[in-house]
């Protein structure tokens, strides 16, 4: 639903050195463990000559062990109006160091950077090579010149999982007049740093390959890397300021936003009739947001100032489309016409939460949303969505540090968090086992928070699509026939109600003396994370939740309960599980709640958490046994 705007940031830039190629020499065996490839040497040399002249040289030697390892090769360079590729070439060697092939610039493939409907001027030169055998070693060298200094590539001491690193280093030389700065993240003892006059080096050696494990946090949150930037930089001919967030925001407002706000009198008039006498900022914002949602659509057009300047508000108004910047800025401009303040806000949009790095002022982020200040809080609006309810942020931009751009004061703030019980689903189920063995289900579920986020789209589905959806999603019950499905979306309360009524044919063999069935027929939560002999990575519960279910189960008269599970409570730092079971005559009542708390934990707590989930799963799987006796 949401679409990022693509920033052409060259992540792993590279360079030449005139030292002898030494890739045929050996590497420690330990690097090969779990590795699809080994980065034998990665050398990046960046020369910042002035705020509008930078060259980046890269030399990257990588030994690839199998097809899966090809994704680490990264033999490509982007280019655009401001960036030219001076040199790009590669040589391929076999296991014993004999040259297999030389790939010259003209043999690199030239392609536009387009995925789906994206419209941009950016292009890429990339290496296309079919390995004949493994292992192979690829020596890739490139050199680019750019007038953009807004994006100085970061250095990643550890780039990815399943990649061993023999040596990786970066050197940055800068002219004394540029105000150079850097920010180290997760840098431990393994990284060596050398500071000299107008130059800085980082390097790392012999890093074993890491493995992606279940529930690992984002790579950036624990992989070592260094960010670089300038206090004054150039972005497509515009000089930017990054001394502090306030000056950065003022610059951005001044150069990228200020002259885009004009709105036609006709549109203002149209909105006036919709707003009427309303004075409340939030209510006006809601009217305007819904107006924008009904009028526009998301189209990724990334053309102005390296993709950073939004389309003019009046063009969005006229054309009815734009990217996240354009649609957000359009909404902001409309609100401004009614004196409602709002903030153009830069964020990393991703289901995995990612903060803007607060103490490093630079171009960051990949997405833009709108913030409406109201009663000392900020209401966040996703302007690229035509269906998102007003004021609901969802899991694409929630709970993270973002930059609000304000002509008066720009600053880093945190977006709405959906914690634990905020994400909840209440289920009321009436289930009856009929005399013919069919089971009749009557479910009512109300969901909120992130659970609601994953479900509110159901409102838009046709009856046919809903039937298909529930047939595939209620997967603990077979042979379902749906009688009715009703979806009620209460946008004001940000909640969705699902009412489903269905029959599971031949659920039980009614002639049997004994019938066994799960006690939780509505929503069993049985996920258990994978087991690891040795858990290496920290782990993260990205978002918590609360599921509360009440199930009333009726059984046929000629059966009695032979066995029924007992109540249980499981408490832990990760959450709480409570279930109570009672019965009276032929009616069984099952109540249970699962609360999971979000958080990041150490690798050594993983087994404990796994045990917690295992206990829950075991409880959720408990059975009742009915008997004709």
């Amino acid at each position: 639903m949401y679409k990022l705007f693509i920033l052409i940031i060259v992540l792993f830039i590279s360079q030449i050195s005139n030292s002898q190629d030494n890739f045929t020499s050996t590497y420690p065996d330990s690097l090969k463990e779990n590795a699809q490839a080994i980065l034998r040497e990665n050398r990046i040399e960046i020369d910042i000559i002035s705020i509008n002249k930078m060259s980046i040289k890269k030399k990257r030697i990588i030994t690839v062990f199998n097809e899966l390892g090809l994704k680490h090769v990264d033999a490509f360079e982007y280019y655009d109006k401001a960036t030219s590729i001076k040199k790009i070439e590669a040589t391929i060697y076999n296991a014993v160091g004999a040259e297999l092939k030389k790939i010259k610039r003209k043999d690199f493939k030239d392609h536009s950077v387009t995925e789906s409907s994206i419209i941009t001027d950016n292009r890429v030169l990339y290496l296309e090579y079919t390995p004949i055998q493994y292992p192979i070693t690829i020596v890739f060298e490139s050199e680019i010149n750019t007038s953009n200094t807004a994006f100085i590539p970061s250095w990643y001491g550890v780039e990815n999982y399943n990649l061993g690193i023999q040596k990786s280093s970066i050197n940055i030389k800068y002219s004394p007049e540029v105000q150079f700065k850097y920010k180290e993240i997760n840098i431990g003892n393994s990284v060596e740093k050398i500071i000299s006059d107008n130059s800085i080096d980082f390097s790392i050696q012999n890093v074993k390959s890491l493995k992606l494990e279940d529930l690992s946090p984002s790579q950036l949150s624990f992989f070592p890397h260094v960010m670089f930037g300038l206090n004054k930089f150039n972005l497509e001919g515009v000089v930017g300021s990054a001394e502090n967030w306030n000056s950065f925001g003022s610059w951005m407002y001044e150069y990228l936003l200020k002259d885009t706000e004009e709105i036609s009198a006709e549109t203002v008039q149209k909105l006036k009739t919709l707003i009427g006498e309303e004075k409340d900022y939030l209510k006006i914002a809601k009217t305007v947001y819904e107006y924008v949602q009904n009028k526009t659509r998301y189209v990724s057009v990334q053309l102005g100032i390296g993709g950073w300047k939004p389309m003019l508000a009046k063009d969005v108004d006229r054309l009815g489309y734009g990217d996240c910047k354009a649609l957000t800025n359009y909404t902001r401009s409309l609100l401004k016409a009614f004196d409602v303040p709002s903030y153009y806000t830069i964020v990393y949009g991703d289901k995995t939460k990612r903060d803007l790095v607060e103490d490093f002022v630079a171009m960051q982020g990949n997405h833009v949303i709108l913030g409406i200040p109201y009663n000392n809080e900020i209401t966040w609006l996703e302007c690229t969505s035509q269906v998102q309810p007003f004021g609901f942020q969802g899991d694409f931009t929630d709970d993270r540090k973002v930059l609000i751009i304000n002509s008066e004061k720009s600053e880093i703030v945190k977006t709405t968090a959906y914690n634990g019980a905020d994400n909840n689903q209440k289920t009321n189920a009436n289930i009856e086992l009929l005399n013919n063995g069919d089971m009749v289900f009557d479910f009512k579920m109300i969901s909120k928070g992130i659970i609601y986020d994953n479900k509110f789209h159901l409102e838009l589905k046709s009856k046919e699509e809903l039937t298909k959806y529930y047939k595939e999603n209620i997967n603990n019950i077979n042979n379902k026939e749906f009688t009715s499905i009703n979806i009620n979306h209460t946008r004001e309360n940000l909640e969705l109600e699902e009412k489903i009524y269905f029959t599971a044919k031949e659920f039980a063999k009614i002639n049997n003396q004994r019938i066994m069935m799960p006690i939780n027929l509505a929503n069993p939560i049985v996920y258990i994370p994978s087991k690891y002999k040795v858990r290496n990575n920290p782990f993260q519960i990205n978002r918590g939740y609360l599921y509360e279910d009440v199930i009333i189960l009726k059984i046929p008269n000629h059966y009695s309960i032979e066995s029924i599970p007992t109540n249980s409570v499981i408490n832990s730092i990760y959450g709480d599980y409570i279930c109570t079971i009672s019965h009276e005559g032929n009616t069984i009542t099952f109540k249970r709640s699962i609360l999971l708390k979000e958080g990041t934990y150490n690798a050594n707590q993983y087994d404990e958490y796994r045990k917690f989930r295992e206990q829950i799963a075991k409880n959720e799987n408990l059975k009742i046994v009915l008997n004709t006796m």
């Binding site: 054309l319 009815g320 035509q386």
Partner: protein, 669 residues
């Protein structure tokens, strides 16, 4: 009198319908419509889609193929807004290029109960040079929202008249009216082929047309200065017109167990079969499958490449020096090509850089690799021939066409049997082709250029044997050993998907797949010995398969191989069900029960055969004292099952799921 009325009615209704399908005639009623009348799920619908392909003669360029398309789309829902963006790809790789121009592009909305019209301007048109060969023209329609109607026209001009555009009557949204007209000069013969489960109405006619050729001469004699005379030639010719019309075409929707849904889309495709220009010989391109094959065979980039052998002779002679068995010779050559030349992931029936260069570069496209393989087998004295194939993504070539094929494999005869080989995958073996290449029928071309069809679908059963020896303890924990033997496609797919994983990575993957067990002592044999089955053994432990309730234990004897869900959930099926290959899964599960327990109930045995011999399911359970043995097998004998038998198939799997869910009950003594 009556007749006249009927006639009048006919005429008037024609006028009405004609108007309905003209651009610029958007009605309020259409704009106010909120859902599609027959498909309430539709996010948008194509109200009409009209195309006309015709030829224009240019004195310098010759005939140009022009295709005009007019489209009117209604947007019903916000998810349908993307239909307001359109892109057309054009070929720019040669000196003669394609070209496309959009025009008459408007968005219609209701504004204050009046129809408002917004024109697409230049700012909404974008050109993209995708790469050396292809470019795109993109349009982004202005002012589009829920309820809008958009219209646009584009004209595609192409010098490549041998590649006629395909016309899809069916789309992923409903199409209310689709019309396609071809106007083809008598000099060209195209085969028109229709696919799909409904056919368009077709009207044919002929019409005269003419080409005017002008030339000029300048006279520079001493008497008459600089006078130019013009000559004018007129050539009259006949055009064959065909109009295809289809109305109310439902949306085509993805379903599981379909290799390529577009195989089933309703469409018409044109294939150039002959050209016969005045004062020139008849030139045949393709009319029958035999002709298609012959044409491909006669091409420089196919037949001539196949005939080359000098580049490999020495090495092949050396390779075969000590191999006497015919079967071993085939294997050796097959393996030699796989090691020598790697596939560069490009499909094609023609060589690109040529077999010799591919051999020396050690990489090539599929034609280079498999023509080389064919040539080597021939050199070694085998009856070997290339087989033209259409990959799954290319769809099924049901009519004679060169573009219907995009892949080449090799057929070799041994003991009067034909074996299929494809050296692009290092794990493929005789008759185990990569899945991309198994797509119904291929065409085998013999040395003399004649050809025959050949079934690509594997007829041999791909078996998987799973043996479990296990034991339940007194608290319901289960431990045991599993041995899985994977044959043919099961082995091939295992190798394609897992061979690059380390044993540890594979173990994690396997634990995710076999939910609920912890795996230890995992070992895999024959990973690289592709003629042998994959054998996977491991020990396991689990506390999740046995319910200990009161003094009884309950468990499904299938343990972690229980099929929990029916793969067929939907009520109706329009398309055939396509399995990749015939398969048979055998399970032999032995479970020793804990001391102090006796068997109270065992599920009943079941022997289930699906009609028409499609498949069978067996479930035989027995016990000897405290050991339970289950023999269970599921067999699908054919890879493709017609949709008419969907109900039966669904029921068949329902019975399987039910049977496998039945519990063994143990009772404490």
């Amino acid at each position: 009198m009556k007749k006249t009325i009927i006639l009048l009615l006919l005429i008037s209704s024609q006028i009405i319908s004609a108007q309905k399908y003209e651009m610029g005639k958007v009605t309020k009623e259409e704009l106010e419509q909120t859902t599609h009348p027959t498909d309430t799920s539709a996010v948008a619908a194509i109200l009409f889609h009209k195309g006309r392909s015709f030829f224009e003669y240019h004195q310098e360029k010759g005939f140009i193929l022009i295709t005009e398309v007019e489209t009117k789309i209604k947007i019903y829902k916000k998810e349908g807004l993307d239909w307001a963006n359109k892109e057309v790809a054009i070929y720019i790789g040669e000196s003669e290029k394609e070209n496309v121009e959009f025009s008459k592009a408007y968005t219609y909305n209701i504004e204050n109960s009046k129809i408002e019209k917004t024109k697409l301007k230049r700012e909404g048109e974008f050109d993209e040079i995708t790469n050396k060969y292809w470019a795109k023209k993109k349009i982004v329609m202005p002012n589009v929202r829920e309820g809008s109607i958009i219209e646009y026209k584009y004209v595609l001009r192409s010098p490549f008249y041998s590649t006629f555009p395909d016309w899809y009557f069916q789309n992923s949204i409903p199409v209310d009216y689709s019309e396609y007209k071809t106007q083809i000069p008598e000099y060209f013969y195209y085969n028109a082929h229709k696919t799909g489960w409904i056919f368009p109405n077709e009207v044919k006619s002929k019409q005269g047309n003419k080409i005017i050729l002008t030339s000029s001469e300048r006279n520079t004699s001493a008497y008459i200065n600089y006078k130019t005379t013009f000559n004018r030639d007129e050539i009259n010719y006949i055009e064959n017109h065909v109009t295809y019309i289809l109305e109310n075409i439902p949306a085509i929707k993805e379903e599981s167990y379909v290799n390529n849904i577009s195989n089933y889309a309703v469409k018409v495709q044109h294939e150039l079969s002959q050209t016969r220009f005045p004062n020139s010989h008849l030139k045949s391109f393709s009319t029958t499958w035999e002709d298609v094959a012959k044409n491909i065979y006669d091409s420089e980039n196919f037949g001539s490449e196949l005939k080359k052998s000098g580049y490999f002779e020495d090495e092949i002679n050396k390779l075969l020096l000590n191999i006497t068995s015919k079967e071993e010779q085939i294997k050796a050559i097959y393996q030699f090509v796989k090691n020598k030349v790697k596939w560069d992931n490009y499909n094609g029936i023609y060589c690109d850089k040529g077999v010799k260069k591919a051999y020396n570069d050690r990489s090539g496209n599929v034609a280079e690799i498999n023509l080389m393989l064919t040539a080597m087998l021939r050199h070694a004295g085998f009856e070997a021939n290339p087989v033209l194939v259409s990959t799954r993504s290319n769809g099924i070539s049901i009519f004679p066409s060169r573009t219907g094929y995009n892949y080449v494999i090799t057929a070799v005869e041994l003991d009067h049997k034909i074996h299929l080989l494809d050296a692009t995958s290092k794990f493929s073996t005789q008759n185990i082709l990569p899945l991309r290449a198994i797509n119904w029928m291929g065409r085998l071309i013999k040395k003399d250029g004649t050809s025959i069809t050949i079934d690509l679908l594997s007829k041999d059963m791909s078996t998987e044997n799973t043996t479990i020896m296990s034991k339940i303890d007194e608290v319901g924990n289960i431990t045991g050993k599993t041995r899985e033997q994977k044959f043919r496609y099961n082995a091939y797919l295992y190798r394609e998907n897992n061979n690059d994983l380390s044993i540890e990575q594979y173990q994690e993957k396997l634990e995710k797949k076999r939910k609920g067990i912890e795996i230890d002592e995992l070992s895999i044999t024959n990973k690289n010995d592709i003629d042998q089955p994959i054998v996977e053994t491991y020990s396991f432990a689990s506390n999740r398969f046995v319910d200990l309730i009161g003094d009884r234990m309950y468990f499904s004897p299938m343990l972690f191989f229980e099929q929990l869900e029916n793969p067929f959930k939907l009520d109706k099926r329009i398309y055939p069900i396509e399995f990749d290959f015939p398969f048979k899964d055998n399970y032999n599960i032995t479970i020793t029960i804990p001391d102090g327990y006796i068997i109270e109930t065992l599920p009943e045995n079941l022997n289930l055969v699906i009609n028409k011999e499609y498949g069978a399911f067996k479930f035989i359970i027995s016990n000897v004292s405290n050991t339970i043995q289950l023999l269970c097998s599921l067999e699908m004998k054919t890879a493709i099952i017609p949709n008419q038998d969907y109900e039966t198939l669904k029921l068949f799997f329902k019975e399987i799921v039910t049977k496998q869910s039945e519990k063994v009950v143990l009772k404490k003594i």
